[in-house]
Symmetry: C2
């Protein structure tokens, strides 16, 4: 992700302040922000950036494969800048925290030919769900929630 801007330039992208800011927000730690969270953080650096621009830029980053779109059970999609190393996700059922995880083996290999129904399968995503350490000890709201 670090030289994302260079890679975008190489693709002939116009390097605008808005795109730079969105890329900076996603850069660094392994975050999984929603579009709105990206927008909030982008606004902190560039107050006049429009919501539509954030959506546009995120979609473009997804299209060119620099960012992965993650659909969890929540309504909003999340955007994962860790697109260069294959991984899966571990989601807390209570607080929604997401961690990147690396299961062993190829999940695609687990699907027998007879279960493919003529599809040409290109991808398998695995989502692990459970309670994160914080949520499994803190019963203040509801320990029975999953």
């Amino acid at each position: 992700m670090s030289d994302l801007l260079q890679r975008l330039r190489d693709r002939g992208w116009r390097l605008t302040a808005q795109r730079r800011v969105v890329a900076e927000v996603l850069d660094g730690e392994h975050v999984h922000y929603t579009a709105d969270e990206v927008h909030a953080r982008a606004t902190a650096r560039l107050p006049e950036i429009a919501r539509a621009t954030v959506y546009n830029t995120l979609s473009e980053l997804v299209t060119i494969g620099e960012v992965i779109e993650v659909s969890t059970a929540d309504r909003a999609k999340r955007y994962d800048p860790n697109a260069r190393h294959r991984h899966q996700h571990l989601v807390c059922s209570r607080c929604g925290t997401i961690r990147d995880v690396h299961p062993v083996g190829d999940p695609l290999a687990a699907l027998p030919e007879g279960e493919r129904f003529g599809f040409s399968i290109s991808d398998a995503t695995v989502t692990y769900r459970g309670l994160c350490p914080d949520c499994s000890t803190d019963c203040s709201t509801d320990c029975s929630t999953d």
Copy 2:
């Protein structure tokens, strides 16, 4: 799913016409309707049924484990009445068709202890994506899509 109504009664549910209709829509084939599709089909049998009632009933069925909520890349969640046999899903990237599939082995076992970060993991869902037979031969719109 066939004696769902009986099981609901056993749980002390009030058996209303609306709930019966929603259950009937989900009964039978292995469908994966959105809430709106359920509502449309329910309306055909009980014209005055409200959208909120469909949402309420679906949520309740999910809560008690009679129906599974499936989040794909699409915006709308889908509802899968095949909750009594563990399975995963195969989704067409183009047309959105969903099939139930049965990979071998337990996906949970593929996640090493060192990759669990103290979570108590309860579930692993696998989503396979690709083109269904119809969509991989029919290039009328766009064969390059995925």
